[in-house]
């Protein structure tokens, strides 16, 4: 084991625990347990809001998978990844103040609370929403745990099981003791680590490669396609690359782990500040991380497994102690994603299943106990599944984000901006969106040269509008007209 690499990592993990304990003070003093535990009492400031958004979204895919694919595909994949810059400003501007105001008026703590209140307390809407969140987010989370454990395994040389065990203990403990506030604050630390880490590795890689011009020249002499927008074999068409603007750009607005953050901030000032910070941070991290993948190619040719590019290039270009510091970055990215997801699934179970259907009259103390035990049980369950991930998990994770987007995008957006939209339209939109995504993803992937998520989003829009027009409008009542 390399202690020079390990030492900074251990410090990083300890500092995260400190944050967890610090946040648990707020939990003890809070009068509204649910609102504090799952939403940090809607007190997030601008900087923390921006960082927790970026960190939650910038998961293992952008730190491990993304640079690995960029290594294979060249600059075309960096171009594709830059669609994510849109998430920095689009999400907060679209959900924006209206979502924040609605959420406060509805007293909503989860996305499902919002949907339920907006769509006339319709039971089917909330059951369907809770079901898709629990299934999809749970699988996405389990897959991230596997990634986290593999990373620890490759850095420390521990066995996969012990690595997974360490990872699980860290995540479960600080999510349980600290709740949303701990998650948001550790996200901020992790975001800063990612930002600094990206910067250092990028500089190190450019120096090791003998400057950008030199790196480009070597890429051209190996395969000129690597410096075109079309990928190493010319397979990245403009239509395909552009369609990622939906999957990793504007569609992100509908992901439950993102919407919950859009109801957690303190004031419109915090939102304004987060817009600027978020755009800068996400722009820099995405550009830097993916460029590192491309630049690594001439320095370390012939890497077979894309996922190992990032750790290998870091160990190659940086002295060991610095490598330890920046390797905390991908670990931070994974941890900050899974902690949010764990809390989200737990909130769906506690708030949307337990409180709604099992025990609506539960006391604050009971809710507290149930929340802690649900989070613990979920954590242990994910750990057990990640020990030997079943094929079903991989399959579910593959379309988790696309599936959630197809299901939720229109019920959320139209719910905010189209008063005529009603619960029948929302239900139709969710069913059509999710099922057409599953069908297209499995039987006609990347239909007509665009990512599988594009058509389901179109279909679910049509379903929402048509069904809303065809059915009675119950959400727009006469009281409103009187007030006009």
């Amino acid at each position: 084991m390399n202690w020079q690499v390990m030492f900074p990592l251990v410090i990083f993990v300890i500092s995260i625990f400190v944050v967890g304990f610090w946040s648990s003070r707020y939990l003890k003093n809070s009068t509204n347990f649910l609102q504090e535990y799952f939403l940090g009492s809607r007190e997030l400031g601008g900087f923390i809001l921006a960082m927790t958004m970026v960190a939650t979204y910038g998961s293992a895919s952008s730190f491990i998978g993304g640079p690995g694919t960029a290594y294979t595909q060249g600059l075309g994949w960096v171009l594709l990844a830059m669609a994510q810059v849109a998430t920095g400003y689009f999400t907060l501007l679209i959900l924006g103040k209206k979502f924040a105001i609605y959420a406060r008026k509805y007293k909503a703590i989860t996305l499902i609370d919002f949907l339920r209140s907006r769509y006339n307390n319709n039971k089917s809407v909330s059951i369907l929403a809770a079901f898709s969140i629990i299934i999809f987010i749970f699988s996405a989370m389990a897959a991230q745990w596997v990634g986290g454990a593999r990373l620890i395994e490759s850095i420390t040389g521990l066995s996969y099981t012990s690595a997974l065990f360490i990872f699980a203990i860290c995540v479960i403990i600080y999510v349980i003791i600290g709740g949303f506030r701990a998650v948001a604050v550790t996200d901020t630390i992790q975001g800063i680590v990612m930002l600094v880490g990206t910067f250092i590795i990028l500089i190190g890689t450019i120096i090791a490669g003998g400057g950008i011009s030199n790196i480009m020249a070597e890429l051209v002499s190996e395969n000129p396609n690597l410096v075109t927008p079309f990928g190493h074999d010319g397979g990245l068409t403009p239509a395909y690359v552009s369609s990622f603007w939906i999957l990793v750009g504007v569609g992100v607005v509908a992901l439950p782990q993102v919407t919950v953050r859009a109801m957690s901030y303190k004031s419109s000032k915090a939102m304004h500040r987060a817009l600027v910070t978020g755009t800068i941070v996400v722009g820099f991290i995405m550009l830097g991380m993916h460029l590192i993948g491309v630049f690594a190619r001439p320095i370390l040719p012939g890497i077979e497994v894309g996922d190992t590019v990032m750790p290998m290039i870091t160990m190659e270009v940086l002295p060991p102690w610095l490598a330890g510091v920046v390797l905390a970055a991908p670990l931070a990215a994974i941890m900050s994603t899974v902690d949010s997801l764990l809390l989200l699934v737990s909130s769906a179970v506690v708030k949307d299943v337990y409180l709604n259907f099992i025990k609506p009259e539960a006391t604050n103390k009971q809710i507290k106990q149930v929340s802690f035990s649900v989070t613990t049980v979920l954590g242990i369950l994910v750990f057990a599944i990640a020990l030997s991930p079943p094929d079903l998990l991989i399959w579910l994770n593959l379309f988790a984000f696309g599936g959630l987007q197809s299901a939720f995008i229109w019920p959320v957006i139209m719910g905010l901006y189209w008063q005529r939209g009603n619960e029948h339209g929302a239900l139709a939109s969710m069913i059509v969106g999710a099922s057409s995504y599953i069908i297209i993803h499995n039987f006609a992937p990347n239909m007509m040269g665009v990512h599988s998520v594009v058509f389901p989003i179109l279909f679910s829009l049509i379903a929402f509008v048509l069904v809303s027009f065809l059915t009675k409008n119950s959400s727009f009542s006469s009281t409103n007209k009187l007030h006009a």
Binding site: L75, V78, L79, M82, A83, V85, A86, G88, Y89, F90, L92, L93, I94, G96, K97, K98, I101, Y102, R104, K105, Y106, K107, S117, R118, Y119, I212, S213, N214, I215, M216, P224, N225, V227, T228, P229, F230, P238, S242, W245, V250, S267, S268, H272, R273, L275, V276, T279, I280, G283, L287, L416, Y417, Q419, S475, F476, S477, T479, N480, H483, A484
Partner: protein, 94 residues
């Protein structure tokens, strides 16, 4: 509060609607810039590429300058076009 009890004429919603449209405008500008430079300059054979700061010109303008442009635009929007509103609930007398 039920959805039907929310006053849709709340002046804050007018502000929110305008800001959502600004978000859409920003993403359209971002996409056109990104697409235009990437495929406008990048579609010629790689031997004919020009380079800026060592990077192919299409990539430099589309991804590097494009990101900087969006950061500047977001700052302009936040400073000049967004309105601060209060999220506190005044007691409504219905």
């Amino acid at each position: 509060m039920k959805h039907s009890q929310i006053d849709q004429n709340d002046p804050r919603f007018k502000i929110a609607n305008k800001e959502a449209l600004i978000g859409v405008a920003l993403v359209v500008i971002n996409f056109i810039w990104w697409y235009g430079f990437a495929y406008g300059l990048g579609s010629v054979p790689p031997e004919e590429y020009t380079y800026v700061f060592g990077l192919p010109a299409w990539f430099f303008y589309s991804c590097v300058v494009g990101t900087l442009l969006m950061i500047v635009l977001v700052i302009i929007v936040v400073k000049g076009f967004l309105t601060e509103v209060s999220f506190e609930e005044e007691e409504e007398n219905r």
